[in-house]
Amino acid sequence: MKEIFKRHPRYAHAPEAFEGMPDNLWVRCPQCRELLYAKEQESTLRVCSKCKYHFPVSAHERIAMTVDEDSFREYGQGVRAADPLGFRSPSQNYSEKLTEYAQEAGTNEAFIYGTARIEGQDVVIGAVEFKFCGGSMGAAAGEKIARAMDLAVEKRYPLVIFAAGGGARMQEGVISLMQMAKTLAALDRLRDAGLPFFSVMVDPCLGGTTASYAMMGDVTIAEPGAYIGFAGKRVIEQTIRQKLPQNAARAEFLQEHGMVDLVVPRAELPATLGRLVRLFVSCNREERRPVGEPARV
């Protein structure tokens, strides 16, 4: 786990949050330094009661926080990454790493999905698991995202995805890169079917994730304070040779710049999604678009 963050120093405050000081009664907020009572973290949805900092949460937690109680039925758990390139570097042997990732994350891949209900309405819902190799979109994760889209088409449910991670998984080379195209191809079928896709971008959401399905939501939603962009903070700083302002490429900045429809605090998300599903489903769209007609994405 530590290794990932060493490699991505832009998430430098995250390990503390993730580890949550399990043997301790207190968690320190990485934003305002307040000490928070660990037992209250669940009831506050892991949001700092003082500064409203949204702590990272696991994919399963996110879904549980959002959907009607016990309504989530997971699909596709058997899909696991292979090691197509036989990738080795001094710091890692990819096929062995995969086992580690699974143990750390508690998921078989960097994405989980299934059916659930939000305010009583059926949806397909998925979430990126950042603890699995930084939430990167290897071929297995890409396949699962595409299957979530397929499942929504098959069941004619709206789709909700918590998008995160940096996109490409270097150890799978161009195969990983091509998952951008694959998820967008699958998403086009969802559009053809006239079903809405609500994309919820959470910290951090970057690169191949934003540059593929995440930014193509019919409605794009962001968690407050989430870093959302094409390039990571460090990469931009190298390009422009200066420090980024604190708010740059955060959710609110993205909304100012027209990329994000809504910045929604974690606690309000079920109600917001519930209302959106009602609005986009009650319009009872007839299928006017002939099969195979170009999507206007």
């Binding site: 570097s89 191809a185 086009d188 690169g207 540059a211 930014m215 094409f230 931009i236 195979g292």
Partner: protein, 311 residues
């Protein structure tokens, strides 16, 4: 003479011999010196390492999109602008004739010298470049022109202003548009296929790659600094990442490899362009025979089925 790369230094004495033979005169001498040089070139280029290919793909005399347009197409009219913010010279495009057929050509464009490189941002597009590309794709679709793209970029530009104008959105939208175009599409990776900034215009019915072009998920330098913890290990990274045309053909990610002139495309722009033009042309002939709905179904299957996982 083109500039030599570090692994081509053995060519220098042969070049001197050829020059000397030319100075002294005598066709026989010239021919045999030329032959020795060509043999050596062929030897070197038949066995390039991935990292060497990266250097060839980035060679500053390598033909760029405009060179292919000049030598392989006629009647090109360059169209400009995204109709909402700016003209981006790192991506060019417009209609041209290929064997008497109107096609829309869109490609990354690097500069040949420093001044041009600054104006073209070293072939690294801003969001408006991808939005221009998308505009031209839609125009091509409207008028029934096939779309031909030429891929050659270190990657999309990564500045704060690119974030402000939605680099990620622009790339995603370009990919989504290209996947749904109701005209045949062919992409040719002519140099560097750098990550998402390359993929934005590469998701075609057929992806062709020049023999010494590369396609990377991240630049070897970036990969080295992350996975090798040492940006100087770019050659090791390149050799591990499966970035060559040959590797990608093996994985089925690329449909065909276009052979380059002996010693690389930069040694003969006209010959390289002629190979590229005829490869595109034969692709388009095949694709044009398919009913458009079949073409789109095949394109969907091609990308939906890129899958290497266990279950």
């Amino acid at each position: 003479m083109v500039s030599l790369l570090e692994f081509e230094t053995t060519l220098r004495p042969l070049e001197s011999e050829l020059e000397e033979a030319r100075r002294v005169g005598g066709n026989g001498h010239v021919d045999s010196a030329q032959e020795r040089l060509t043999d050596q070139l062929r030897r070197i280029y038949s066995d390039l390492t991935p990292w060497q290919k990266v250097q060839v793909a980035r060679h500053r005399e390598r033909p760029y999109t405009l060179d292919y347009l000049q030598w392989g197409f006629t009647d090109f009219v360059e169209l400009h602008g995204d109709r909402s913010f700016a003209e981006d010279r790192a991506i060019i495009g417009g209609p041209a004739l290929l064997n008497g057929r109107s096609v829309m050509v869109i490609g990354h464009q690097k500069g040949r010298d420093t001044r041009e490189n600054i104006s073209r941002n070293f072939g690294m597009p801003h969001p408006e470049g991808y939005r221009k590309a998308e505009r031209l794709m839609r125009q091509a679709e409207h008028f029934g022109m096939p779309v031909v793209t030429m891929v050659d970029t270190p990657g999309a530009n990564a500045g704060l202003s690119d974030e402000e104008r939605g680099q990620a959105e622009a790339i995603a939208s370009s990919i989504a548009t290209m996947l749904a175009l109701r005209v045949p599409t062919v992409a040719v990776v002519i140099g560097e296929g750098g990550s998402g900034g390359a993929l934005a215009i590469a998701v075609a019915d057929r992806i062709l790659m020049l023999e010494h072009a590369v396609f990377t998920v991240a630049s070897p330098e970036a990969a080295a600094s992350i996975l090798w913890r040492d940006a100087g290990k770019a050659s090791e990274a390149a050799n591990n990442m499966r970035i060559t045309a040959q590797d990608l053909k093996y994985f089925g990610l690329v449909d065909d490899i276009i052979p380059e002139p002996v010693g690389g495309a930069h040694r003969d722009h006209a010959a390289a362009a002629s190979s590229v033009a005829s490869a595109i042309n034969s692709c388009l002939q095949g694709l044009s025979e398919l009913p458009i709905d079949e073409l789109l179904a095949a394109r969907y299957a091609k990308y939906r089925n890129i899958a290497f996982f266990s279950e």
